[in-house]
């Protein structure tokens, strides 16, 4: 048995492609995990693999035969899909639910007989729920419901089972119970493709992992190859740490944990072996990117300003731009832009009063000439010890305007240490673009 997808493309509406060139394969007894953020296309991919949606390009092959050539019942005898858990309206008993798995084996007018009932009972016994067979499905626990759906797949006698977030909403014990049963069934030759939000479950149970971002395959391979810190950062837009353990003299990844933004005092730059001073010494060989993040108004610019002063005091060269706010009657009314190399400054933006500006956000109207000037300064800046960009916002990430020269320098790695201000809401976008960045909490007061 081999279920294979090659170069799948899919869109629900013209021009809005949900899957881009997705390829994968599972053999008998293999478990493939699909990981990605909400909306990355996992459920759509499962539907295409199950033959419920026709891809616009590419093909799904089952034992080298295109799955679209199968009739609906033939397909359902090979590939089962367990959708995201939902509660049916009517309280069918557990056995009645499992019996529905016999549908592809019966004619359109047929209904299950004693033989089908025996198959359903056998499937229930396999997942250990035979005793619950007469209970209403709507009244058993979420973990048991998931097991009933797996039993339905067994009664269906299919060879690949596609599961959409089987462990969502389940506690640790129920997750473990289900995944252990899945694992034992795969030892008996059943294949699984599981869309999941848990890199840790993938690390424990997957033979292979497909990482998806916005409908594209970010990585495809063994858990060790795919569940790395930088790939997970790129997929999820958060900093992660992969914990390894020595098993049989080999460092084996065992868990993925998420990292919070680091609380860092700019003053620690003076301490010789502090994290911050190591960043600067590493920057001599490898570009180091620091993202300073936090909610609006926590003092990100202040944090960066302190770092600039301290860096200059230690004899480090600083370039780039800073955008301090200007206040009037205690209210933020304007944004200036300062070229750190020369100290020149211009008025960059003002609270929006009319709609004439070419670049604007809901609140600010930007001066195009000042923006061009800032970009010129950023592009021309010598490679210094510290490159500052304050700040990259929605204009840069979503509109493709603003401080593009700064974005380009970061993409090209033309810096030693870069310190970039990004608000919290945009941090995932920044990390997806620069997965190895160090994330610092800009709200730490000295």
């Amino acid at each position: 048995m081999r279920l294979q997808a090659s170069h799948l493309n899919f869109s629900y509406l013209p021009g809005q492609t949900v899957l881009h060139d997705v390829s994968l394969a599972v053999g008998a007894g293999e478990t493939l995990y699909i990981l990605g953020r909400n909306g990355s296309g996992k459920t759509t991919l499962l539907s295409c693999l199950a033959g419920l949606l026709q891809p616009d390009g590419g093909e799904v092959l089952l034992d080298d035969k295109p799955i679209r050539d199968f009739s609906a019942a033939e397909r359902a005898r090979e590939v089962g899909l367990i959708p995201q858990m939902h509660t049916p309206v009517f309280g069918f008993t557990v056995r009645e639910m499992v019996m529905m798995g016999r549908a592809p084996h019966l004619g359109w007018l047929g209904s299950p007989n004693h033989e089908d009932q025996a198959i359903a009972d056998e499937a229930l016994a396999q997942v250990g729920l035979f005793e619950l067979r007469d209970r209403p499905y709507t009244e058993i626990s979420g973990g048991e419901q998931q097991l009933v759906l797996i039993a339905r797949g067994l009664a269906q006698k299919c060879r690949v089972l596609l599961m959409d977030e089987p462990t969502a909403h389940l506690d640790l014990s129920n997750q473990h119970r289900i995944l252990e049963i899945v694992n034992q069934l795969s030892d008996r030759g059943l294949s699984f493709i599981i869309a999941s939000h848990s890199p840790n479950n993938a690390l424990s149970y997957a033979d292979r992992v497909l990482l998806m971002t916005g409908g594209w395959v970010t990585a495809y391979g063994s858990p060790q190859e795919t569940l790395t810190e930088s790939l997970l950062s790129a997929v999820y837009g958060i900093r992660t740490e992969v914990i390894t353990k020595e098993i049989d003299h080999v460092q084996t990844p065992v868990a993925v944990i998420t990292q919070r933004p680091i609380a860092l005092e700019p003053e620690s730059l003076h301490e010789p072996d502090s994290f911050l001073s190591r960043v600067f010494s590493n920057g001599q060989n490898d570009p180091q990117l620091i993202l300073v993040t936090g909610l609006s108004g926590v003092g990100k610019t202040t944090w960066v300003t302190r770092l600039i002063e301290l860096a200059r005091n230690t004899g480090l060269s600083v370039s780039g731009i800073l955008s301090p706010s200007t206040f009037k009657d205690g209210r933020k009314t304007g944004i200036q832009v300062v070229d750190l190399a020369t100290g020149d400054r211009q008025q960059l933006a003002q609270l929006r009063e009319n709609d004439s500006a070419a670049i604007r956000t809901p609140r600010w109207a930007f001066d195009a000439a000042a923006m061009d000037w800032a970009n010129l300064r950023l592009a021309a800046a010598e490679t210094s010890d510290l490159l500052v960009i304050d700040e990259l916002g929605p204009v840069e990430f979503f509109q493709g305007k603003g401080l593009l020269a700064g974005m380009a320098r970061l993409d090209e790695g033309k810096y030693r240490v870069a310190c970039v201000v990004v608000r919290s809401a945009l941090l995932p976008n920044a990390l997806q673009r620069w997965p190895n960045a160090i994330v610092v909490n800009g709200g730490v007061k000295g």
Binding site: T93, M100, A103, P136
Partner: protein
Amino acid sequence: MTHSAPSTDAPKHKHPWITGLVIYILPVILFGLALLLGRYPITPGEVGRSLLSPFFPNLAADIPEVAQQLVLRIRLPRALAALLIGASFGATGTAFQAIFKNPLVDSNILGVTSGAGFGAALALLLFRDAWQVQLFAFAFGLLAVFLAFFGSRLYKSSPLLVLTLMGILIGSLFNSLIALLKYLADPLDTLPAITFWLLGSLTTITWTDIPALAVIIIGGVVFLLLIRWRLNILSLGDAEAKSLGMDPARSKLWVILCATLMTAAAVSVSGVIGWVGLVIPHAGRLLVGPDHKRLLPASIALGAAFMLLMDTVARTVLPGEIPLGVLTGLLGVPILILLLRRNRMGW
């Protein structure tokens, strides 16, 4: 975790045979009562001999001519119509609740009754002949569902929700048109006829109404009985039905077509009778559980029994007849409230 969803209580497991027996004997008993009871007193023996008289003419020798005529020409077709129409409402209500995944709909959700009401009102305004009223009611009932169904096809997203919405919209459109016809109708002559038709009644039933009604309803009931186990799968939603190898869109189209023909046929004979298709499936679920393999036959029997009971009550308790639609509404609402309570539906 426990879900607040409808469920069935234990009793059905304790005495399934007794429950089943009662459900299927009930319409037989009520059919007999419908022939027996009425303003003109007839004994059970007279009823039996009247029924057999077409085959054994000498049996009717010593019973009054009027009793025999009453049983054979008035009460028998009327009881048959009540049986068929009740069975139809029970079956279509159950099927629609399954395919719409919603225990609060019946086969009227797509506007068939409003369309039929408009057709009947139009025919009453234009022609006044019974067969034209029936034909118009039937045709406009189908037209309403056709409009709702193809109207919903204009939208690509969430077909079930859009279909329900379209049904409600088309239903209100035809209700407005009925109001317009009532406004235009002659208040001394046509208006009472329209009003009375809309209240629902089996008073005017004769043998000529039965053949067409029987063919459509028995055909539809047989079809729904044959596919009844698949209703379980359709009630889980399109994604699961597809993953179990079904074509939910096509299956639902067949069910809608079949149920609409049955309901239009029933309503064109009886006028507007509500609540039966909504209430009966709930009673069925309480007695035999939600599996359509048992539920659909039970709903058919219960629907037939309920309708026979209602019609017998409608024509016996008061000197004049109580409109059937009024009676089913008056009794349907408290019964539904009671059943929803027993079924522990938690919304």
